[in-house]
């Protein structure tokens, strides 16, 4: 009996389910129709409508109209989707025989964070959808010699230092620019840096980068201990392919390789290079005398392991060295400047996603830099040691708010032994001298918290605060920062930023300070700008800025010892205009106006800063002549850099040397700087493999730009020292193995 009832009950259930299906085919259907529209009542074609849990629905036509019939009844959810629009769920009541008319409006999908987070004063590259320059564009800029830093100097607001890779931004000093590589601070990414009349070259390979963000002001609270600009670089997580590439040029040779295992969870890269200028100098004219001829070596690579779908661990290591001897003339010494440097940098980075939406990055890095140089009686050997541990965490709180926070500890050590002239104006080998050694170190703790808020789909705010504690000077700083972006239309933005920025003086400065009593140097940034960016094919950016400096290192209080009573300002405007006509032409024009004055070190009062370059224009154009032949040209013109001339001199009979009497600091300028560079690349097959030949003609008009002035022994004659960048030809070949 029981079995009978259960059986009947189950059949009843089965029968009921089946009858539901049967019934639905027999009931009278409901017709649902209407229009789907987007912004400004624009019809949406291809929008999909479906009753949740069924396949009843339709797709809108070219006037946004849709219609379909359903036999479902009662309260139902209608789901409406369309590419580029946010999904909409509408509750509808379906009654047999009663047709339904709907007019549905969809709103554009919220722009992804990537699209809008390009904040004021930022130039980006990599995989971001709103990049300013791509890695390919960077390596093809004529005159930039495939150097990321030199490429950046074609952006407004940044100037080359001595035609090399170091950059000075918006009237600031070069050491106010911080390079970050995967959270690590990269303090010495150059060879031939600070060498007499020699251009520095960067050691960062642009092809190894997945993201580049250069900010010339108003940057995030993430970045501490920097006054003017940040170059934030991210290397690729885990390589995706296998390849090997060799390059042979007139002045250098290199080999690089990338490996990824079959499973895609392990990868490695390596690169080795050697710079040898002899063949280059044989072909190109140079008045300079070298002994030894400049050479540089590099060796580096990465090892990466994927811990999960999104997590990985990566070890990055890089070694670079250089050696140079260049003849240089000064009033009391005519001989060779000799310099050598070596740097070893390593970074172990871990990236994990503790939850599906949060990201935690931790890294431990170190850098050992040794530099030796001598000129006349001056002989110096110094070591810079850095170690850093850093952690960053970010996660969304709601769909409109993200938070980020992090902490870092950085150890810096500076050791220097040297012989220096007793009198600065006499560096002859026989001149009186003294020995000086210093050994300083400090720690810096930093922490920040930041929130990215989107109160409205078109309005974006980044508000943050950071604090740092400097162990040597026992100073704290608190830096509130704010950046806003307002999207005026799909392609145009208003951007603004303000904030307080601090940078502790160098350990060299602390070693010459009164009782380590140097406050953190401070800059307050105010930036306002407009940008129109149409998919990176057309960019117009206009920005004005004002930077107010205080607590700059100065020796106007304690005599020869340093204090913190320096001050200054930098104000100006930057204009950037870029067009790209795919696939043939790509070009941009940058213009900067700068007015920068400082009271710093021994200037005494407010004077033009070293990089107060009033007008600066760069014009860059690259053209694809065929699919395999590319050419480009860069024109650069700028106001001459300020310098301090010698007005007269007094004879010091005890030294048998003249004492120069200087005019006010930076009271004169070098002549206008101009330069035209062209280059070309041709891609072809080399034994069935990809190959490229490249040709670069730098300073093609052989403009006689000045590096410095020197003087004869009694300073009565000013002698111009021409920049080492004469008209030069450089060529080479690169091929895949």
């Amino acid at each position: 009996m029981k079995i009978f009832f259960i059986t009947v009950f189950l059949f009843f259930i089965i029968g009921f389910s089946y009858s539901q299906i049967k019934d639905s085919t027999e009931t009278k259907s409901v017709k649902i129709s209407g229009y789907i529209k987007g912004e400004k009542e624009k019809p949406i074609e291809g929008a999909n409508l479906v009753i949740e849990g069924t396949i009843d629905g339709s797709t809108s036509d070219n006037v946004g109209y849709f219609e379909f019939e359903t036999e479902r009844t009662g309260k139902r959810n209608l789901i409406v989707t369309a590419i580029d629009y946010s999904e909409k769920k509408i509750e509808i009541e379906l009654t047999q025989g009663k047709d339904l008319q709907l007019n549905i409006n969809l709103s554009k999908a919220i722009y992804t964070t990537d699209e809008i987070t390009v904040t004021a004063s930022s130039f980006t590259s990599g995989e971001n959808s709103k990049v300013t320059l791509t890695p390919l564009e960077i390596v093809r800029i004529p005159g930039a010699d495939a150097d990321l830093y030199r490429a950046i100097t074609t952006f407004p607001g940044s100037n080359q230092v001595d035609e090399g890779s170091r950059i000075a931004v918006r009237g600031g000093e070069p050491d106010e620019v911080l390079t970050i590589l995967d959270q690590a601070s990269l303090y010495n990414p150059f060879v031939f840096d600070n060498d007499n009349n020699m251009s520095s070259f960067s050691t960062v390979n642009p092809w190894g980068l997945k993201g580049i963000n250069f900010s010339s002001g108003g940057f995030s609270a993430k970045f501490g201990n920097v006054l003017s600009a940040v170059l934030d670089l991210q290397t690729f997580d885990v390589p995706k392919s296998k390849a090997m590439f060799i390059i042979l040029g007139l002045a250098n040779a290199g080999i690089s390789g990338v490996y990824a295992n079959r499973e895609g969870n392990f990868g490695a890269t390596f690169s080795a290079g050697q710079v040898f200028l002899k063949p280059f100098l044989l072909i190109n004219h140079s008045d300079a005398e070298y002994n030894p001829t400049p050479t540089a070596s590099s060796l580096g690579g990465t090892l990466s392991y994927k811990l999960s779908k999104t997590g990985f661990i990566k070890l990055y290591a890089d070694y670079n060295s250089d050696n140079i001897g260049i003849k240089s003339t000064s009033p009391t010494f005519d001989g060779f400047y000799s310099g050598k440097s070596k740097v070893f940098f390593t970074n172990l980075a871990l990236s994990v996603t503790p939850t599906s939406v949060s990201l935690l990055n931790v890294s431990v890095s170190s850098s050992l830099f040794n530099r030796k140089f001598n000129y006349g009686i001056i002989d110096n050997n110094s070591d810079d040691i850095y170690g850093k541990i850093r952690s960053d965490f970010s996660m969304p709180i709601t769909s409109k708010i993200d938070i980020g926070m992090g902490a870092e500890y950085e150890y810096s050590g500076y050791k220097s032994d040297g012989i220096y002239p007793m009198y600065f104006y006499n560096i002859a080998l026989t001149a009186p001298k003294f020995s000086y050694s210093t050994n300083k170190n400090t720690g810096r703790f930093g922490a920040y918290a930041e929130s990215r808020i989107r109160p409205h789909d078109n309005f974006y705010i980044i508000a943050g605060i950071r604090t740092d504690y400097h162990t040597l000077s026992q100073n704290f700083n608190f830096d509130p920062r704010l950046s806003v972006v307002y999207r005026l239309s799909k392609h145009s933005f208003l951007k603004g930023a303000t904030g307080i920025y601090h940078q502790y003086a160098t350990l060299q400065d602390y070693s010459l300070s009164f009782n380590n009593n140097l406050k953190p140097q401070q800059a307050i940034h105010y930036i306002l700008g407009y940008e129109y960016n149409r998919d990176n094919d057309f960019i117009l950016r206009i920005e004005s800025y004002y930077k107010k400096y205080s607590n700059l290192v100065s020796n106007s209080t304690y005599g020869y010892l340093y204090g913190s009573d320096g001050e200054g300002f930098a104000k100006g405007a930057d204009v950037f205009f870029k067009v790209r006509f795919k696939p043939k032409f790509n070009g941009w024009i940058s213009y900067s106006y700068t007015d920068s004055k400082r009271k710093q070190y021994s200037t005494g009062s407010l004077q033009s800063s070293n990089y107060d370059i009033t007008h600066n224009v760069s014009v860059v154009g690259t053209y694809n002549i065929t699919d395999f032949l590319f050419a480009g040209i860069t024109y650069h013109i700028s106001t001459g850099k300020p310098y301090t001339p010698v007005n007269s001199s007094i004879f010091d009979s005890t030294q048998s040397a003249y004492i120069p009497l200087y005019a006010p600091f930076n009271s004169d300028r070098y002549p206008t700087y101009t330069r035209v560079d062209v280059n070309a690349q041709y891609v072809f097959s080399f034994f069935g493999k990809f190959a490229i030949v490249f040709l670069a003609l730098n300073n093609i008009l052989d403009n006689k730009n000045l590096y410095a002035y020197t003087y004869n022994s009694n300073y009565s004659q000013k002698i111009a020292i021409r920049s080492g960048n004469y008209r030069t030809i450089y060529f080479g070949i690169g091929f895949q193995l």
Binding site: L10, I51, I55, D56, P583, K689
Partner: protein, 262 residues
């Protein structure tokens, strides 16, 4: 007694599952048929409608990875319709949507060879609007090719994609027509014995093999190549009389070549 009850309960569940499975198979089969017809006609509007059909099938919550695959393939086909006129913003819109959809499919089922074959094709399309991301395109495409080969080295669509890629890639960059013919002939042979797991699984590509064999022989144009091109064109037209690709594009290329050679 207990066993009987369990049996009956299972029977009830089976009944309801079969009915969902039937809805799913029917809907998939119908949508796939409409997709093939729209592709043959190169009809963008019909393709957009088919996309909606597949999207609605997602509501059945069965084999969603396969449904995402077909949404992606439909988006890819829509992007292809804009290639003739080089409407780059539309190509980008649908190709990027296709990449998003196939990634969703792979996230659910990472062992389906055809998904990676489609990724190869989608990465190839990125050249149309993102030439500057050369490194990423090559790396992503190579990775997908490696996965596809590992999962099913005899997938004819994998070899077809390699062949098409070689056809368009200059010899100096590792492509060329000889390499294309090698892959296309292999794909042609594999299609002869290929049987898909279900009727509604992806089975595209046969007419493309015919078409690209014809185009490759025309391009190489060695002695006897034009005759081979004619042979494959006739066979293709016979097997796929509705194919817009064969009738509209390949036939025209062949006719022009014959005219030029006269």
């Amino acid at each position: 007694m207990k066993q009987k009850i369990i049996f009956l309960v299972l029977l009830a569940f089976l009944f309801s599952s079969f009915s969902i499975a039937d809805d799913f198979s029917d809907a998939m089969f119908k949508a796939k048929k409409n997709l093939n017809s729209a592709i043959n006609k190169n009809d963008e509007k019909a393709l957009i409608k088919v996309r909606g059909e597949f999207e609605r099938i997602l509501q059945l919550k069965k084999d969603t990875w396969l449904v995402y695959y077909f949404i992606s393939y439909t988006d890819y086909s829509i992007a292809t319709t804009y290639m003739k006129d080089q409407v780059k913003d539309k190509i980008k819109k649908y190709n990027e949507s296709a990449i998003e959809m196939i990634n969703k499919s792979i996230e659910i089922n990472s062992d389906f060879c055809d998904s990676y074959v489609l990724v190869m094709n989608l990465q190839f399309n990125r050249w149309m609007y993102e030439q500057d991301k050369m490194n990423d395109i090559i790396a992503s495409s190579d990775l997908a090719a490696e996965k596809a080969k590992k999962l099913d080295p005899d997938n004819p669509r994998y070899h077809l994609t390699l062949g098409v890629s070689s056809y368009y890639t200059p010899e100096m960059f590792g492509g060329g027509v000889d390499k294309a013919l090698e892959s296309l002939n292999k794909s042609f042979d594999l299609f002869k014995t290929r049987k898909e797991k279900e009727e509604y699984y992806p089975d595209w590509g046969k007419e493309m093999v015919y078409g690209f064999l014809v185009l490759s022989y025309i391009k190489r144009d060695k002695e006897g190549d034009l005759a081979k091109a004619k042979e494959y064109l006739d066979k293709g037209n016979e097997a796929f009389p509705e194919s817009g690709f064969l009738k509209g594009y390949v036939q025209k290329q062949y006719d022009e070549k014959v005219k030029d050679n006269k």
